[in-house]
Structures are given as structure tokens and as C-alpha cells.
């Protein structure tokens, strides 16, 4: 499919939109509204009201609109599909251009059964499970989700999800400060730049100060030595592993150094698939492990909706932001699940809540739960292994090209940074004309890294695609 072809289809569509479609028999109701005009009249009569306008007298008349909103007239179902299909045609997807983009959003394989299950009305159109007697489906699924997140991260307690990986990192920082009352936060310089920006936003008004931990220029990782002299005003050290450049951090050593300073270690995981192959942060001494679960069956969808995960040591369970599901029993001793420890939350605690979050990412946590169930122990190991092996194959091949080399010396999972013989942005431009999205030019976030390219390879990237990339790099 040609992305540019879409443009013409799109203009054609706009031209074809018939304004008359808004003209409709006034007695005929919008299809989503069950009560017809006639029925509404009857209801008004039944209530002794004259007209709909009677019901709106609470709104000062001069504030009421006397003309329709200035929006396009209602599209028919067919027009709606044409409109959105035409828009979608103007985006490039991995089936049209092979893509080596990662950097926090990953193109992993999504088993078909997931969508079919989460599309069941009972999951899709249900409310937050405040009424456990008729919400056990959602509650049990969240309980399973919490369990899986605990197992993957090596932690004791997981919440029911946060908005995304970046806000999870921000909430971790706020929580750490709540826990130990310290007012400074040390943030790794190789944390995902957008996460870092979000943390900055969140700490700005929380009176928390930020201390930057520079990464090592040869390994790209945080050297434990840089933590040697952490002040005792540091509430937490926030590191990401694999870090933004793809490198795996020495978490145990970082934890030791952090704990020595009495701070908490927050480990951020932007590529959750790495948890299937790399040692669990919880096993390495992390106090909070949080991040992005998009890799577990959630479509990339231009950056959202995703699913932030958040797991802590048991001793912090009453400090965790967001919802928690726990076991409970009814009068007959039957086991079920309920939202619990709600006293942390804003409904009850208002300004003293552990967070303001209310609606979270329930359905997407369910997606992740179904994904993890389908893939299971073996599938996750295989997937993790394939990511790792394919990325290393790609890295090795690229490193053989004249002028290209791996920027950093550290171990990596499925992403790595390549130094190009010319500006990475220029390389990407040339690759694009060969229908390859070659990765992310790092200069945008790290002005000093003009020639550096962040490349991601997953289990869905075929050897042919990798080889084609290598050939293209050689040729340009």
C-alpha cells in the first residue's frame, strides 16, 4: 500500500461527503437513542411537561445555544468508515514499511484470541468493579494480572494499572517521597526522555528536586560509582533497565549503592518483554518496579492507550497509588474478589490520597493478562529469547558495515544504539525511500548524539527485514 495513494482517496472522500446527509425526518431519532421523538413527547406529557425546553430552564436562556454546533453533519455509517479508513491509509504501518522503531513502543506479535476476548460486552462495556457481586469477572482478571506482574517483576504487590509507563515512573517518585519524606530525586540520564519529562512535570509542584545521574559515555549505563556519594536527602534513585539506549543496567549494584544512602531504588521497565529474559528487578533489590506493559498484547496505536504497571515490596502496600484487588469472602464462606485498601484513594481520602488516579487502564490490563496467559511460561521465554537473539544478529551484522559501530559496550535486550558515519536523520531519510523506518535518531533528545540511531528488533522482525536493512545501510 502506498501511503501517498491514501491522500487522493481521502480528498475524494471529502468531496463525496454529502451535506444532505444531515437532513433527516425530524420524527426519526438518531440510531443510538432508543426513545423516539414520539416516545419522548409521550414521556413529557406523562410528566406534565410541555417541551424539552422546559427541562433546561435551569440554564439561563442567554447561555443556551440557538444554533447547532459548527461541526460536520452526521456521517452515515458507511461515510464514517470511509472517513476513518482514508485517514488510516495515510499512516505507515509495519506491513507497509519494515520498522525498527522501539523506544518505548514495541511491535510484538499479538495473538488473535486477545481481541476476541476483551471485546466481549461483559468486559468491554462494564464499569469499574465497585459492585463485586456482579463484577467478579473483572475482579478476578485483575487479581490474575496483579499476580503475573508480581511474578514478572519479582515484587510482592502490584496495583491494578496506571495510565502508562511514564506516569507510573512519576507516581513512583511521588510515592518514594511519601515513604521516606525526602525531597530530592536522582534520575538516570538514560531514562526514556519522555518519561523523564513526565517525572519533571509531576515533581515540579510536589516540591521535589531533581538530581541528574549522568550515564557512562562508553557503556551507556549508569555506573554504580556515580551513586557512591548520594546525599541522604535523596528519596529515590530512578533507573531504567534496559535503559533508553537498550543497555541492561547492573541493577543489583545500583540497588546496593542506593540502599546504602537510605534511598529507594525505582526500576523503570519501558520494554516489559525484557522481563521474560532478564533477571527480575525485584530479585536485584528494587523497591518499586514500574513501567509499561504495552509489549504484552497491546497494539502500538500511536502511543496509547497502554497500561502502566506498578509493583512494590509488601511493606509499601498501603502507599501504592491506584486500585488494588484482594480476596474476600461472603457470608457463606464463598471466596471472591473486591477492590480493597480503598482508604488510600481519593474517593475517601480526597486531597490526602496516594494519588488522584481514578479511571485507570482496566481493559488494557486485561489484554496483558490474556496475552500472558496465552503465551505462558514457554511462550514468554521463547519470545524473550527470540528478541534477544534477533537483535544481536542485527547488531552484529550492522557492526560489520563500514563506518557503522555499536555506540555502547553494554549488554542489551532487543534495542541497541548504532553510530552512523553521517547524521542519523539523514540515514533515516534514505532508508525511508526504501520503505524502511530505520529507527529513532537520538539527536532529538540528546543533541550530542547526532550520528546515533536507536534500533529495535523484535520477534516479529524477520531475518529478511534485518538483512534488507543491512543491505540498505551498505548502499546509502
Amino acid at each position: 500500500k502506498n501511503v501517498w495513494f491514501g491522500v487522493f482517496g481521502y480528498w475524494f472522500f471529502l468531496w463525496s461527503l454529502n451535506p444532505q446527509s444531515a437532513i433527516r425526518n425530524p420524527k426519526i431519532t438518531m440510531r443510538y437513542i432508543p426513545n423516539s421523538a414520539q416516545e419522548r413527547e409521550a414521556m413529557l406529557r406523562d410528566m406534565g411537561r410541555e417541551s424539552i425546553a422546559d427541562l433546561f430552564t435551569g440554564i439561563p436562556a442567554h447561555l443556551q445555544l440557538n444554533q447547532p454546533l459548527n461541526l460536520s453533519p452526521a456521517y452515515s455509517e458507511q461515510q464514517t468508515l470511509q472517513y476513518f479508513n482514508a485517514l488510516a491509509e495515510r499512516n505507515a504501518t509495519p506491513t507497509q514499511m519494515s520498522s525498527f522503531l522501539g523506544a518505548g513502543a514495541y511491535n510484538h506479535f499479538i495473538p488473535t484470541a486477545i481481541d476476541s476476548l476483551i471485546s466481549r460486552s461483559e468486559f468491554l462495556t462494564s464499569y469499574t468493579p465497585y459492585q463485586p457481586e456482579i463484577s467478579q469477572g473483572t475482579l478476578q482478571a485483575i487479581f490474575e494480572y496483579q499476580t503475573m506482574i508480581c511474578d514478572l517483576t519479582g515484587m510482592d504487590v502490584s496495583n491494578a494499572s496506571l495510565y502508562d509507563g511514564s506516569t507510573a515512573a512519576a507516581e513512583a517518585v511521588l510515592m518514594a517521597s511519601r515513604v521516606n519524606g525526602r525531597g530530592k530525586i536522582a534520575i538516570a540520564g538514560n531514562l526514556h526522555p519522555e518519561y523523564s519529562e513526565v517525572v519533571d512535570t509531576y515533581i515540579h509542584h510536589a516540591g521535589i528536586e531533581r538530581h541528574l545521574i549522568e550515564f557512562d559515555q562508553t557503556t551507556g549505563t549508569i555506573s554504580p560509582e556515580t551513586l557512591a556519594n548520594l546525599g541522604n536527602d535523596i528519596s529515590a534513585v530512578v533507573v531504567q533497565s534496559p535503559n533508553f539506549f537498550g543497555g541492561i543496567e547492573q541493577l543489583q549494584k545500583l540497588a546496593d549503592a542506593t540502599h546504602k544512602a537510605g534511598a529507594l531504588l525505582v526500576v523503570v521497565v519501558a520494554e516489559a518483554m525484557s522481563l521474560t529474559a532478564l533477571k527480575a528487578p525485584g530479585q536485584c533489590g528494587a523497591d518499586i518496579v514500574c513501567g509499561e506493559a504495552q509489549s504484552f498484547g497491546i497494539p502500538m496505536s500511536f502511543g496509547g492507550a497502554y497500561c502502566g504497571f506498578f509493583a512494590v515490596r509488601e511493606k509499601y502496600q498501603r502507599q501504592i497509588p491506584g486500585r488494588l484487588v484482594g480476596e474476600a469472602y461472603d457470608g457463606q464462606g464463598r471466596k471472591g474478589y473486591v477492590l480493597t485498601l480503598a482508604t488510600r484513594e481519593q474517593h475517601i481520602r480526597r486531597e490526602k490520597a496516594t494519588s488522584n488516579i481514578c479511571t485507570n487502564q482496566g481493559l488494557y490490563a486485561l489484554m496483558a493478562t490474556v496475552y500472558l496467559s496465552l503465551m505462558g511460561r514457554e511462550g514468554l521465554k521463547e519470545s524473550g529469547g527470540q528478541n534477544l537473539q534477533k537483535a544481536h544478529y542485527a547488531a552484529t551484522q550492522i557492526a560489520t558495515i563500514d563506518g557503522y559501530h555499536l555506540r555502547f559496550g553494554s549488554s542489551f535486550f532487543n534495542e541497541f544504539t548504532v553510530s552512523c558515519p553521517k547524521p542519523a536523520q539523514e540515514v533515516l531519510g534514505k532508508l525511508a525511500s526504501r520503505k524502511i523506518v530505520g529507527g529513532l535518531a537520538l539527536e532529538r533528545f540528546f543533541p550530542g548524539m547526532k550520528n546515533d540511531l536507536l534500533i529495535c528488533v523484535t520477534e516479529t522482525t524477520s531475518k529478511q527485514e534485518i538483512d534488507a536493512l543491512v543491505e540498505a545501510l551498505k548502499a546509502i
Binding site: V3, S121, T147, N356
Partner: protein
Amino acid sequence: MIKKVTAHINQNEGLIFERSREGKIGYSLSALDVPAVKLEELVDPTLLRDDNLAGLPQVSEPEVVRHFTRISTWNYAIDLGMYPLGSCTMKYNPRLNERVARIPGFANSHPYLPDEFAQGNLELLWELEQNLAEITGMAAVSLQPAAGAQGEYTGLMVIRALLESRGDARKVVLVPDSAHGTNPASAHMCGYKVLTLKSNDQGAVDMEGLKKALDQHGPDVAALMLTNPSTLGLFEENIEEICRSIHEAGGMVYMDGANMNALVGVTRPGDMGVDVLHLNLHKTFSTPHGGGGPGAGPIAVVKELEPFLPFPRVLRNRDSNGVAIYQLEYNCPQSVGRVRAWFGNYSVLVRALCYIKTLGPTGLREATETAVLNANYIAHHLKDVYDVAYPNGKPMHEVVFNDKQQSKFGVHTLDIAKRLIDYGFHPMTMYFPLIVNGSIMIEPTESEDREEIDVFIDAMKSIAREAQETPELVKQAPHNTRIGRLDEAAAARKPVLRWKSSSKGGNAAGA
């Protein structure tokens, strides 16, 4: 008599972990097509996982399908019946929105695609911003906030940034006592001191109290956070005056737009003097609640506040042929920053735009009118059986009662809620807003047909009778569900928040 439901067999099911058996699989990946190398040779072995992922289950695909299908049947859902949940706007979730959000060109697009390969996405964002600006009567929109609460937080930061840019470091946010819990929580996160405003005897902002608060704290008041219609479902008749007095005091007005389903197409916050508001797309704009999200909480602001919106912004330019070119602008020096990675809950945004396009201006107004009609119809038919919390109010999209009459027989809101389950309904919202003792908050939305509403009214009346005649029946409810009231206090005392292989299964065989 219970007309709406009948008892029927319903499958039990343990936890997915209890199905796990060695050797079962539910996946299939393509074989590795690069030379296989041991992971230990590629990565420092001490960094590798060594627990064999023992906690993850091993199950087959049919079992996963059956597991989640079975447990799904324990849920109530919009597609099964009315959700009279006040403040939640549980309306019909069109299937068309779901289909559109899954179009591969949207679902498979990477957020770091160069702008020229993401023109469709960028135009969609731009178009949705324009549409929401028109609907709210505001100048500019940010789609970044992931839900209402984050919208509040972002909106307050935007206000704070403006004030600070004027060198005006105010410290107080006024929040009516009827506000949703996220309001004070968000204000607090934004570094503000929350000052609670008492509502007047009509449940509205007490103009005297407001005046007093402004007299006392005026120069330090950054904003008033107002829900309109209020959480009582009543339009703030003094809204313009309220805005005026806040503005005069140098503050800004934040409107919680959770109740916009009462207003869309009829009136616009921007015309009332509101400076910032958030929308809950998962309420007013029909995106599915999904058992607790995802939502989306865009904020709309007046012109003055636009420079402070989160970055990046979406810009529309035109090329030399006049063709629109969309572009992400990161250079926003006055911006409050990012509140999340990338551009918002995009897949939710797609659904919301699909909804707007499908309804158009006429349909949007029709939805509002019908939602208000339905709520008034319920208010009319229940007002003699349950006490209306503020009987002089003109309910809009929802109506709030209390349990005063029923309490005489020892039956409280919680009991009424649980008894509704036996009658085949989801309970209404209860005990919110906090200013109403035993609040019973009912919002039917425009998605309910009169017959469903009538059955609901009958159920509520019947429960009122039961409260009088057989109060124990109500207090022990629900009776017809697969599980009864759960002991939440015990659950919170010794929380069990994850499965361990030693523990026994729930909702399972033997239940």
C-alpha cells in the same frame, strides 16, 4: 415482583494459574530465523533470568478462551442492562467506534513515526481538538490527559503556569464540598492548598460563602474547581457571577466536565466564563469503560491559557498547493510540560471522534436532551417514594435522592443498591456526593429506552415497599447472585493481593 431476571446456571472457574500444567502451550511463534545462539553467550549471564518464569501459567488456547469467557459472564455490562450510575454516564458504546479504533493504519502505527508517515493520525488529533473546542466553546484543547483526574491535574497546572508567568504565585484552590474526590486530590498534587466551599441549601455554590472565601483568601486563590452541572445534577445558575467574582479576584475557573452529557449542544462552558475544563471521553463521548478504563480526559482552555498546554501540540500548515500538512510542535517554551508519553490515549481518542462524526451537531444535542429527559422522568416517578436530596432543584442528566425514608426501617442506601442487583440492575451511585446523607444518585443517560426505565422505576418502588414490609430481605441482598456481599473490612485488614501456589482457587469448583 422481579421481572427482569431469572436465575440460570453459570459456569464456575478457578484462577488461570490453577489450570497450569507442564507442557501446555497457548501460543505459536514463527521459528527463529537467525542463527540460534545461547543467550548466555550474548548477554552477561548474571543479568539473565534464572527462575524459569515459574510463576507464569502454562495453558492452552482453548482453556484461555474458556477461562476468560466464563469469568466474563459474572459481570454486569451496559449491553446487558441499564447502569443508573450517577456521575458515570454509562451510555451505549457503539460497535462502530470499536471497529474504527482497530483499523490497522491506526492500531499498528508507531508513535515515533516521522510526521510525514503519520499524517492520518495527526489530522485525526487535530480534528478532534477542533471539534472539542467547538463543543466546549473554548479556544484550544490538549488531548494528552489519560483520564478525567489527569485532566484536572493538567488543567490546574496550566492555570498555575499562567499565574506564575504573571509572577502571581497563588496557593489556594477552592473546591465545593460536593466535588468528586479527584478534584481535591488533583489540586493537592498540583501543590495547592485545598479550601473546601460549603454548598448552600440548594446544593449550589453558596454565593455568600464564596464571597467570604474570596474576601479572606482572594489574592491567594488560584482557582475555583466547579462541577457543572454539579454532582447533584443541577446547573449552577449563578455560574456567570461565580466566574466573574473569581476573575475579579484574579483567579481562574476550572470546570470538572464529567457532567457534560447534560450540556453538549445546548450550552457551552466557554460562554459561561469558564477558563479550563476537562472532558471524560469515556463518559460523554461513549468510549467504553472497559471495567475501569482506559479513558481519556482532554482539557479545553481559553486563549490566554493555550501557551501553557502540554507539549507537543499538533499544528496544521498548508503546503504550496494549499494541501494541509500536520506537524508536531515540540517547541512550546511556556508549556507545563508533558503529562504522559506521546499524545494521549490515542485509541480512545479515535473512538471519541468517531462518535462525534456519527452523531453530528443534531445528534449530539438530541443525545443531551434525551439524557436530561430520561433523568427528569425518573425524578418525576420516584420523587414520592424516595426523598429528593434538593427538591427545589431542576435535575438535568441525573437526579440525587437520599435514603431518609428508608432509613426509618433500618434500610440504607447500600441495601437498596444491593437489592437492585436482585432486580436485574446495576446499583446506582451511592454515598456521593458526600454532602448528601445516604446519597442515591441516578443517571440513566440517553441510551435507555422507556421500557427499561419503567422497569427500573418499578424496581425502585418495589424496593421502597420492601424496605417497609420486609426490611431484612433488602438488608441481606443480593440473594440471586453467584456470590453474596463480601466482607470488605476483613479483606482490607489482611489483604491477599496475589495468588500463591499454596492458596485455594476462587469462584471455582467447589464454590
